[in-house]
């Protein structure tokens, strides 16, 4: 039985608390009276995931029929799946998607379906490389489909292969991948890492176009998504749900969603998911050895060590059928692992940012992604109200090097250098620069033919933090490169103590402090 997450009240005998710090760690002594939110321990995984998948496909939820009865020979079947952005870190083989799709294809083979195409629903993300595809789908599926061109990656700029399904009552364009929309059955296979993922958002972001995404990926929408990790209170989800319902009326969708437990780090890093006072001699030795050696190796090398790490997380649930019914179950299963009750807001919220976010798998967590991970994802890991009060201070810990992956993030460089130099106000940025970046032919070329994120994707990073920017009074980055931190519009501090003193200027003396001990991921249920 795994222990649930809880809130620790720091007293004088509390050991220093672990902060993730990019490709490294810091141990920080928090002032007495601070609170630390710990995630739940990994819940027990499914004993036989394959049997569970089969069971889910044969017993779908909502008004859907069992999968085998939806399959027949001569039909056009499309299977879309999440890309490398989930799970984090990439899981050890076999990935949930491989398990599910193999069983789906087994059923399709039994039904004699010949016309099958697989689509990576990466939206405006970069295309996946062959090793990445092999990792999430397995060699069997890759070798069966890729050589025949039947494993494709969604292309949001291939206008010949997009089709406008219609417009919602609010006037939102629903423009999606033509193959998916014109299929007799569209099966979507996801890995629901956090509560933001899944449901109608899967198709509405994964296989849609910029024109369509614009309706929910914008500043106003994100400022009214409180938080975007809580679909009922999220404008992002309201919009995608409206659009998704329109799609569900146009094409038969069979959604298969899976959840994972939070067994995030392999055994050599197991101390990362233990509570500090429970570290054994072995954990302490591992921590010392790891952090000392990471301090000594060049960042490049530390990065490749971390990105080579595959996580041992295991499947905890799988559900299939009609999108909304499925997603409701998924959220319940996710909450079983993620929810941690927290009482009240704090003046100061501290967090240690790890080396990895959804957009830098096998890449660099550049300053823009630091902002997005801290103020976008971590800040929004709440339900109810934010962990920090309005006008409070958020303190992030991350090296924040002025460093970008030139292949993956070309538009990010320009955004950082040219847009942020002028303004950091999301609304102004959206108004003045978005269109220009989104339609830049060079970015489009790199997105379609190289491995670059779309030109407009850098903006979404900033929008993801728009709610936090509006809510907090100041953002401080501990241990960041000052030049880069200032460009983000934040304040650099060299130690946590300095940062806390700077925070006092904003929130007053003796502030209340909450630290989120994340990852492993949790969702704070703030009352």
């Amino acid at each position: 039985m795994s222990r649930p997450g809880f809130v620790l009240e720091v007293d004088r005998s509390t050991p220093p608390i672990l902060f993730h710090h990019g490709e490294g760690f810091r141990l920080e002594k928090l002032p007495a009276g601070s609170r630390v939110v710990y995630p739940a321990e990994p819940v027990a995984p499914l004993k036989d995931p394959d049997a569970a998948i089969r069971h889910a496909l044969l017993n779908p939820v909502g008004d859907s029929q069992p999968l085998p009865s939806l399959l027949h020979s001569g039909m056009k079947l499309t299977i879309a799946m999440d890309n490398q952005a989930v799970p984090l870190p990439p899981m050890q083989r076999p990935d949930n998607r491989q398990r599910v799709i193999e069983i789906v294809l087994d059923m399709a083979a039994a039904a004699g379906v010949d016309d099958v195409e697989l689509i990576v629903a990466h939206g405006l993300h970069r295309r996946m490389t062959e090793p990445e595809l092999r990792h999430i789908l397995g060699d069997r599926i890759y070798d069966s489909f890729a050589p025949h061109g039947l494993l494709t990656q969604h292309d949001a700029e291939d206008h010949d292969n997009l089709v406008l399904v219609g417009r919602t009552e609010q006037g939102e364009h629903v423009e999606l991948n033509k193959r998916a929309v014109t299929s007799d059955l569209l099966i979507y296979v996801n890995v629901n890492l956090v509560a933001m993922d899944g449901g109608h958002k899967s198709t509405m972001t994964g296989i849609s176009s910029y024109r369509s995404l614009k309706h929910h990926h914008n500043v106003t929408g994100m400022q009214h998504s409180r938080s975007f990790m809580d679909p009922p209170n999220s404008e992002l989800h309201n919009s995608t749900w409206r659009m998704g319902r329109l799609l569900a009326g146009a094409v038969k969708i069979f959604q298969i969603e899976t959840t994972l437990n939070t067994d995030t780090f392999p055994s050599q890093f197991s101390f990362l998911q233990k509570r500090e006072w429970e570290w054994s001699a072995r954990d302490r030795a591992a921590f010392l050895a790891t952090s000392k050696s990471l301090d000594r190796v060049p960042p490049r090398m530390a990065r490749s060590i971390f990105h080579g790490m595959k996580s041992p997380q295991r499947m905890t649930s799988v559900q299939a059928g009609e999108v909304e019914a499925v997603h409701q179950l998924t959220l319940a299963n996710l909450h079983r692992q993620h929810l941690v009750p927290v009482e009240g807001q704090a003046d100061v919220l501290t967090m240690g940012l790890p080396y990895l976010g959804p957009y830098n798998v096998n890449s660099i967590l550049n300053p823009l992604l630091v902002m997005c991970l801290g103020l976008g994802y971590f800040f929004n890991l709440y339900r109810g109200k934010p962990l920090v009060r309005k006008g409070g201070v958020v303190i992030l810990s991350h090296p924040t090097r002025w460093e970008f992956h030139p292949v993956h993030h070309p538009s990010y460089i320009d955004f950082f250098e040219q847009v942020l130099a002028e303004t950091t106000d999301p609304l102004e940025i959206e108004k003045k620069f978005e269109e220009d970046f989104a339609t830049d032919p060079w970015y489009i070329h790199l997105y379609r033919n190289s491995y670059a994120y779309h030109g407009v994707h850098a903006f979404y990073m900033w929008y993801w933090g728009a709610h936090a920017l509006q809510h907090v009074g100041q953002v401080i980055i501990v241990g960041g490169e000052p030049r880069a931190v200032r460009r983000l519009g934040f304040k650099p501090a060299s130690t946590l103590r300095d940062a806390l003193e700077m925070a006092e200027d904003v929130v007053g003396r003796n502030p209340s402090i909450t630290h989120i001990h994340n990852p492993p991921i949790f969702l704070a249920d703030v009352t």
Binding site: D414, E417, D440, P441, W442, H445
Partner: protein, 387 residues
């Protein structure tokens, strides 16, 4: 009279080269520049007048001379000992004047004048070592005329432009650099280009930004600036986008919405003004200019090593821009410069003034102007004794 004098001394020159190589501006401590009491220069001819400098700027070319870095190209066209200083506002009987320092056929008494001087293109005159004066391309490099960094000097009637009463000395001392910028902005043969880049945001760069905004009227003006004060001024003087020097290629690519080709921009800016004059800046300029279009060298480059393959392949025109004279519209460059200084308030670029006694500090400040938040450093001679 008191003057800073630059004398011919091989060992000191060598010492300045070494010192200036270690630390810009250091040449002033060990080199051939010294503060001395010297004889006032004689009037070389009837049309000459004695003037008393009020403010005299320190220019980038002065600094490279002091640090022993200037090109050997100048050897035959200067004469020693000379008093530096060619950005001058001075008193003469009956009011203040700005000096147009080029020593062309007219001051030199060459009659008939060369074809350039005859049409007013005085900056292109090549008789700068001939005639009634010692060699010297400008006042401030000639042994016979004296220069701005002193309490007295001589100037030819044709070199003097009266300063309007409502113009401050600080504004007036900026007229000469502004004239260089106006001339540069008028060099390229394009009208209302869509994208123009100005590399560098020192005095020359900032003046060029103002001149380009007024005379070339581009759709988008991108400037590169290293320091925050420069950045602010650049935006204020009419740049639309200001980026750091390392970011300029990407900025131009984005503004011109063209692809990258290797490290270069596929279809870049119509005109690039290089106001830095180093190998890196020329490299950048060649990388970001549009094929068949032009790069204008405003900053004095000296001997640098640049790969010209791109110039050959993209059929780029590399254009120099030196000094002033008369522009295509027929107006004298200095007249346009007076207008520009007044209209863009270029007087604010004067960041610090020094007395002659503190010349080492002044030169040190000028050599590090950007990083110390300054633009133009000038000598203030209004308070000198023996004036």
């Amino acid at each position: 009279m008191r003057a800073l004098q630059f004398r011919r001394s091989v060992p000191k020159y060598a010492a300045a080269m070494v010192a200036g190589g270690v630390m810009p501006g250091f040449g002033a401590r060990v080199g051939p520049l010294r503060l001395a009491d010297v004889e006032e220069p004689d009037l070389p001819g009837p049309d000459w007048q004695r003037i008393r400098p009020r403010l005299a700027g320190i220019c980038g070319s002065d600094l490279s001379t002091i640090d022993g870095k200037s090109s050997r190209y100048f050897e035959p066209i200067v004469s020693f000992p000379f008093v530096p200083g060619h950005e001058i506002v001075a008193d003469r009987d009956g009011g203040r004047v700005v000096v147009e320092p080029v020593l062309n056929c007219i001051p030199r008494g060459i009659d008939p004048p060369c074809s350039f001087c005859a049409t007013g293109l005085t900056g292109s005159c090549q008789n700068i070592a001939l005639g009634s004066l010692e060699p010297g391309l400008q006042t401030g490099y000639c042994a016979d005329t004296g220069g701005g960094w002193s309490t007295a000097m001589v100037a030819h009637e044709s070199q003097l432009h009266p300063v309007p009463d409502d113009m401050s000395d600080e504004a007036a001392v900026m007229v000469e650099p502004a004239a260089c910028a106006v001339h540069a902005a008028c060099r390229p043969d394009v009208d209302q280009p869509s994208t123009v880049v100005v590399l560098g945001a020192g005095t020359v760069g900032l003046c060029t930004i103002a001149a380009v905004r007024t005379h070339l009227r581009p759709g988008t003006l991108i400037a590169s600036a290293k320091h925050p004060e420069q950045r602010k001024l650049a935006l204020d003087l009419g740049a639309d986008v200001v980026v750091e020097p390392g970011e300029v290629r990407r900025a131009v690519r984005r503004m011109s919405r063209s692809p990258m080709v290797g490290d270069g921009v596929g279809e870049g800016a119509e005109v690039v003004f290089d106001c830095v004059g180093t190998a890196d800046s020329v490299d950048d300029a060649l990388a970001i200019v549009r094929p068949r279009e032009q790069v204008v060298l405003v900053g004095m480059p000296g001997r640098i090593s640049v790969d010209l393959t791109g110039l050959w392949h993209k059929e780029i025109r590399l254009v120099g821009a030196y000094a002033y004279g008369r522009e295509k519209t027929g107006e004298r460059t200095f007249e346009l410069a007076f207008e520009l200084v007044a209209q863009a308030d270029l007087g604010r670029l004067v960041s610090a003034t020094y007395s002659l006694d503190r010349y080492r500090d002044a030169i040190d400040h000028a050599a590090h102007a950007g990083s110390r938040g300054a633009v133009k450093v000038v000598f203030d001679l209004r308070g000198e004794r023996n004036r």
